[in-house]
Symmetry: C2
Amino acid sequence: MKNAVIVYYHPYNGSFCHAVLEATKKGLTTAGFAIDVIDLQADQFDSVMSSADLLGFVKHQMIDEQAKQYAQRLQRATELVFIFPIWWELMPAMVKGFIDKVVFPGSTYEYAKTITGMASSLPNLKQTTVITTMNTPKYIYQFVFGNALKKAMISGTLRKTGLKKVKWLSLSGVKSRTQAKRENWLRMIEKRMAVK
Amino acid sequence: MKNAVIVYYHPYNGSFCHAVLEATKKGLTTAGFAIDVIDLQADQFDSVMSSADLLGFVKHQMIDEQAKQYAQRLQRATELVFIFPIWWELMPAMVKGFIDKVVFPGSTYEYAKTITGMASSLPNLKQTTVITTMNTPKYIYQFVFGNALKKAMISGTLRKTGLKKVKWLSLSGVKSRTQAKRENWLRMIEKRMAVK
């Protein structure tokens, strides 16, 4: 089975991020995937760790019902895609909350004798793509801000918890691009997803 | 007047972060500051940007009442301190939400002809200290994860919006430290705050 889970967040449906979501869905459908979209805004996901959630982390037992349900949906994923904007050089609070509450020991990973000390508990997952939009230009983000999202989320979270083939697709300087460039990006994304 | 605003987040009152908060308050009191603690968890701050908040950002008008009140409290600050844990190499969702919703054009900064394109609208603020706790060892955080918090929050948010004298005090490898080492840290923090 080809199951794609898309974790999506943007508060505005007219955003470029939303167009990226549509292009991603189109491409994955062409490739024959069943698609499950986790729309964090539509779900009004509570992104904050309560003291009960924190204690649950220590005990390897998820508390938050919505987070548990998300973790179950991730179990079925063969392909995982994140789509969100970069604000203040990082993911928005909502997406950080998804990481804090859903990337959980005993659910999506286990502690293990690996280089990072963790191994994935998502056995079906083959590839993960993180697609972000930002207004910061590419080289400024790399040389001044150290590709902070890549370091923290790709290396420090997804690969750390044992995921293989994690790719970051960064659409940068979005506000200053022409309509034609943006449409090119959407076609490129649809194509990339269609051959997965 | 010496006014300190402390932005604090940790869901568990028995945490080392909470002890850091107490040491900070003690030191600042010795130094003669009036102290205003923004306790994000106690306030149950809604850390997520709604579409109305996003539109407000574009129009330079804050919408969220709690965020507006926080911005007003920041106006009075001569000293600003952030205290929070690092989770997954970054600030928790709650703290990212504070940045997303309170660091706002027309409130805490203005667009201006500076290197970063922004200038601070917090005219009383002289110094900012970001105190973080993490279990990751210092050199791993620096060389593998690129000091992601420093790049994104210190450079990419606070300094970018025109704040001067922003310092990061990183307490690393917390879980593996002795009780004596942690008590040393608390004394060091109290001392540093007492001479401001």
